[in-house]
Symmetry: C2
Subunit: 207 residues, 2 copies
DNA sequence: GTCTATAAGAAGATAGAC
DNA sequence: GTCTATCTTCTTATAGAC
């Protein structure tokens, strides 16, 4: 790992814990194992480091989006076939999403950093909403629409259905960001949530 | 309004926008219309101002909790009577909760401040979770249990049911904190969400 | 690319006049 | 209770030696 990368890594770690303003260039340098002035050979300044993190993260996000969409298309194709096991499919999908978002080191730190900095300017606010609200909702919406068309789930408003699927996962994820000691509890709730979600949205079998 | 109160007001406004570390004592003083050293006649220091905001907000929260519980008990008693209009009752309750949380000036600023500072220490993390996750969930859970017992809603896991009711409201609330321009859209989604929530959780009338 | 030395400014906080 | 003046420390950033 190059020094430039190590600086970004140390910076995102500190920013995710204390926020941009509470972290000094000296602290970043110390975490890397160099002195503050050496850092200016790699970046123009503190803001430049922050921008580099943003740029790097957006690059990773785009790559990850494409991969997820591929998985999604596969999962969606599966949905048509395995109508019976749709609950397990949803549970696995949800848990996988949850664990990935929670345990991927860079993703996790970046999310915390954005959480702290989201009110700082409009671009950061938009970025947060895009990555953690709009994109997940539109992705889940598309997936759930396929399950509806396949006749597995009830015909309900798609967007709201996606909200019912994603919002509980989101609130539990942000809970874990804040209190990692409650991760096990949260993971169980995610599982329970999805099971109950598929139960209540299932097409009723006449009793 | 006393100078002490005006300092707290200016401080919470600035903290909710930029976070504790990005705000200087001088900026707070300027917002109040005094010079920085004058501020030290009212508070021991910057941290003391922050603590006072915290204390004040917890006082208000406890008062508000008691009031809400009273409303809740009333609403719950109503629930047994008006089984037919339970959907409207839920919609009104949800929208009222949403609008109160979103438009009460101090509540709103304090929530943003806590959002920014939640990772700073364990007490702030616990406080955030209590006020915006655990307490609302346990309150909603109690209310929904009464609707279940009254035979209006299906018998499902209470905690998850509360999560399905509250999580969408929570995610839309945090969206509005970040992007107030999307408030109208969010409010419509809240309404749609609750209507769909009561539809899918309703005891099925045999077709 | 790393270091030491250092500039230039802002920060939190105190002393003491009024 | 407010002010000016001041202290000390920390901050970002640069200059220049190695």
């Amino acid at each position: 790992m190059s020094t430039k990368e190590r600086i970004l890594d140390a910076a995102v770690t500190l920013f995710s814990l204390k926020g941009y303003d509470a972290v000094s260039v000296g602290q970043i340098a110390e975490a890397v194992g160099i002195k503050a002035p050496s850092l200016y050979k790699h970046f123009k300044g503190k803001q430049d480091i922050f921008n580099a993190i943003l740029k790097e993260m957006q690059k990773r996000y785009e790559i990850q989006s494409k991969e997820l969409q591929m998985d999604g298309n596969n999962a969606a194709e599966d949905a048509g076939v395995f109508t019976a096991v749709s609950e397990d499919m949803l549970v696995n999908m949800g848990k996988r999403l949850f664990i990935y978002f929670l345990h991927d080191d860079y993703v996790c730190k970046f999310r915390k950093m954005l959480t702290i900095e989201q009110f700082h300017n409009k671009e950061l606010a938009s970025l947060f909403t895009k990555q953690y609200v709009d994109d997940p909702l539109s992705y889940q919406s598309a997936m759930l629409a396929l399950l509806t068309q396949a006749g597995v789930l009830r015909q309900e408003e798609r967007k709201i259905m996606a909200l019912h699927f994603y919002a509980p996962i989101y609130i539990l994820l942000t809970l874990c960001d804040r209190q990692p000691e409650r991760e096990e509890e949260a993971l169980q709730l995610v599982e329970q949530h999805i099971k109950q979600f598929s139960r209540i949205y299932q097409k009723e079998v006449r009793s």
